[in-house]
């Protein structure tokens, strides 16, 4: 099929014993912005797979794909965030993160996948009041990192926003 790692299993041992002080996030990059997805929601990380288009589906839904016998609905997170499609000249392959929501699998297509980071609770902040309204609706808050800001993706909300457009 393609390269994929069972992040969930790998990262569990790293979880510090002092529970609740940190949370593990899989970091992903979209248009240079770092996002975090709570690691427990992540099922798989995939390279580019053949996606079947679903006619008449919302534009954010890029199609469906076969992940080891299960049908996964692919969501283009860029489109969800109101970002332009990725520059074709960027010869990099796009990656996707498979998440489980309501016993259904969704593959979130993003630009690139980074590390799994344990983030300190003290670095967490709610969404800035002036954040873009679309972003605000699908973000749980932000973490202040060294020189970077990480936006936490609210996966259930992201998917729900597709179910009832606008």
């Amino acid at each position: 099929m393609s390269e994929h790692t069972q992040n969930q299993d790998q990262t569990k041992p790293h979880q510090p014993l002092s529970e609740a002080k940190t949370k593990d996030f899989l970091t992903v990059l979209i248009e240079g912005q770092m996002f975090g997805i709570p690691i427990l929601q992540v099922q798989d990380v995939l390279g580019e797979l053949k996606v079947t288009r679903i006619p008449l589906a919302p534009p954010q839904v890029s199609g469906s794909l076969n992940l080891r016998g299960r049908i996964v609905t692919a969501i283009d997170v860029r489109k969800c965030l109101g970002l332009p499609p990725m520059d074709v000249s960027d010869n990099e392959k796009r990656m996707s993160v498979v998440v489980n929501h309501d016993d259904e699998l969704y593959s979130l297509i993003i630009d690139n996948v980074g590390d799994v980071l344990p983030l300190q609770n003290k670095d967490f902040e709610p969404n800035p009041a002036t954040l873009d309204i679309i972003w605000k609706s699908i973000s749980l808050g932000v973490y202040r990192l060294d020189g970077k800001i990480l936006v936490v993706l609210d996966v259930p909300k992201l998917l729900l926003s597709l179910q009832h457009p606008n």
């Binding site: 053949k50 079947t52 006619p55 016998g69 049908i71 609905t73 179910q163």
Partner: protein
Amino acid sequence: MDDLIIEFLTETNESLMELDTDLIRLEQNPNDKDLISKIFRLMHTIKGTCGFLGLPRLETVAHRAENVMGRFRDGDLEVTAAYVSLILESLDRVRFLLGHIEANGTEPEGNDTDLTTRLDAVYEGRDEFQTSGQPASQPTPAPGPTEEVDLEALFEPVKAKPAEPEIMSESEPGSTEPNPEEEEISSPPPKQQAQQKETSESSIANQSLRVNMDVLENLMTMVSELVLTRNQLLQISRGDKENSFVTPLQRLNHVVSELQEGVMKTRMQPIGNAWAKLPRIIRDLSIELGKKIDLIMTGQDTELDRQVLDMIKDPLTHMVRNSGDHGVETPAERIKAGKPETGKIHLRAYHEGGHIIIEISDDGKGLPTEKIRQKLISKGLVTEEDAEKLSHQQIHQYIFHAGFSTADKVTSVSGRGVGMDVVRTNIEKIGGSIEMKSTEGKGSTFFIKIPLTLAIVSSLIVESGGERFAIPQLAVRELVLVSQKSENRIEMIKNTPVFRLREKLLPLVSLESLLKLGSNEDQKLEDRFEHKYIIVTQVGNYSFGLIVDQVFDTEEIVVKPVAKILKDLELFSGNTILGDGSVIMILDPGGIAKVTGESNLTDAERDAVDESKKLVSDKKTSLLLFTAGAGSPKAVPLSLISRLENIDMSKVEETDGQMLVQYRGSLMPIIPFSADMSLAKDEMKPLLVFADRGKSVGLIADEIIDIREEAIEIQLEGKRKGVFGSAIVSGKATEIVDVMHFLNSVHGDWFKDHGDESFLTHDKMKQNGISRTKRILLVDDSPFFRNMLCPLLTAAGYEVIAVDGPSKALELTERDENFDIIISDIEMPDMNGYDFATKVRATQKWQNTPMVALTSHATPEDIDHGYKSGFDEYIAKFDRDTLLSTISKTLSRGVEI
């Protein structure tokens, strides 16, 4: 044995077996509340079921035991060792009775007063422990003896018995019940029972096994996955025939198919399960409404998937209720209408292809067309003007619309206007369809067509706009390849594409534009619809064509629901993974029909008209159209042609002025259709071969055009030989070829063997100015025979109407149909030919119509019987020559008269 009883036995035996293990705990802890409640519940269930099944003895025991258990359960009475024995004895008695029922189908003789009196005593507080003033909470006797008694009671209830009468006699010295004789009668059973228990540990219980539904569902999912993987493997191996995997793969293929079938079977349930409640509903309904209704159910054993069964349960109940409430009239009304007082609702289920058909018919008042029309107008669903134009069938269809009810009053049963539309939606949801026929005053019939199973569906894979889709094959009627340059082309009305399919306009839907897959709307018509396929799809009565680019294979697919965020997409019923591993969307024909404008009323009507036409007449003939020489296209009945060949004109030889060709080892005479044809030696020409009894003749044509189904109606008499005349075939003037002319020109004796010259008769008739073809009514229950005779008679120049039974034939009298002759089979299931003849003679219209009987065995008695019943001629089946000559003789006699 009754299914219900078997089920009851299985269930009860299972519960008893479960209790067995728990009973050991009862010894140690007599006041185990859970266990007591369990026994209580079991007794309660047995009691309830027995009353229903008519097993009084078992019921009594269970009832009394339940009373006592009730007291224990409520903590009213402490369970002591003696009581434990009593409980066990009751259980054993139940088991004994069950064993007897299982073995003999009935309850054993005798009664259980010995046990029941004691149980009653305990229940009423008259037994020794309660009457002797000992506190109920007194500690139970020493464990030792208790155990002994109880174990005995458990395994050998007979031995436990002697202990009991003592207790009883002490507590009720004056009691009349347990007299010695009765003891005698009722004591043998436990012995039998003990024996039985040893020999056969309930055979019925062992034959079936209860499995949790989840386990089966899981199994089904796994099998579905296996089917997909198999498909994938097969796809891979298809390209590589020499592979060493091929053989094992084939075996795997078989095994998986069988496994799939087996697992499907575990999910199958008889439809009777969904009907179980209906008799009761009808009974209650008839009491409430003061009607007399008989519910007749046939085909309860028809099995279908549990999932499907669950889905149709409610719609069915609703429809049967409807039939009872709206359909069947009150006894007074029925008598007035000349019908029997008791109305009938007939529920029928049967298999047909991959479907189950459920018919619900009643002989009630039918749909009140005028009333519906008025209602439609008053509800503003149609304008008054339009309403006048609607036909009956169209109006009837409105009962499937939301917010519509014809009942004047809203009863507790129906009339609230949420009904048939919900029924239809539910049935369509599972890929089924519903149709109805109704005659005012005579009743209505609903046909529900549902798939056997939902899990695995055979589908056609098509491509449109570069994407592949699956269409459930159930909905696909046929495929048509269109090309804008040929006659098979798509035409446009404004921007709506339509297609002429056998002289009917088929509305078309372009899948590409429906799914917004491409943007070639601005292309020229010729290019847009060049080399496309039309998938003729049928949803209920409504047919439409789907335009697609490409049609691939059919594949067994496992329907998986689409993700929740996509569930608003009406056009898809699910998605699946194909053999090659790609994901594909499954189109929902029902959804497409809905989205593309549900104009199905008109179409349904048209179809209905067509159908009734079909019933009345099969006069359409398949015609082969060809060109030969100058002039209009020629047509010849396809059934007369035995083969079509292409001949090389250079191979044609000539002897004695006759063209010949070597054909299959012998010489076949060939004739050019007309003299003005070019017969250059270097050409290939199509040849129409007519063959009969070892003789054959070839007719040279220029080009084969098409095969059409048309009613031949000769409008212009032919002036030259070899042509009957001209008729309109597919909108063009076409010459109908008189094949016999050509055949006779070669083989003068072609007809001699037949003993009849029906074609010539036909010609003669025309010469006499009788241009109307003779109509023959053929009544035969065997489709094979009908199919054999129809072309024969049609070719002989008659118009044949074939029906499958006398009742259908008699229906035709009501339609003002007239025939010149009736040919009838004798052995038919519903009504035999003699009765039919008698009935025909009794009608006014047909009393003088000549009748010919056909039979496979004709003894003098039979023939005599036949003449007495009203037949004019009596001939053996399979003797076609005599048949033809008899028909022409009988007819000519009729003409003379």
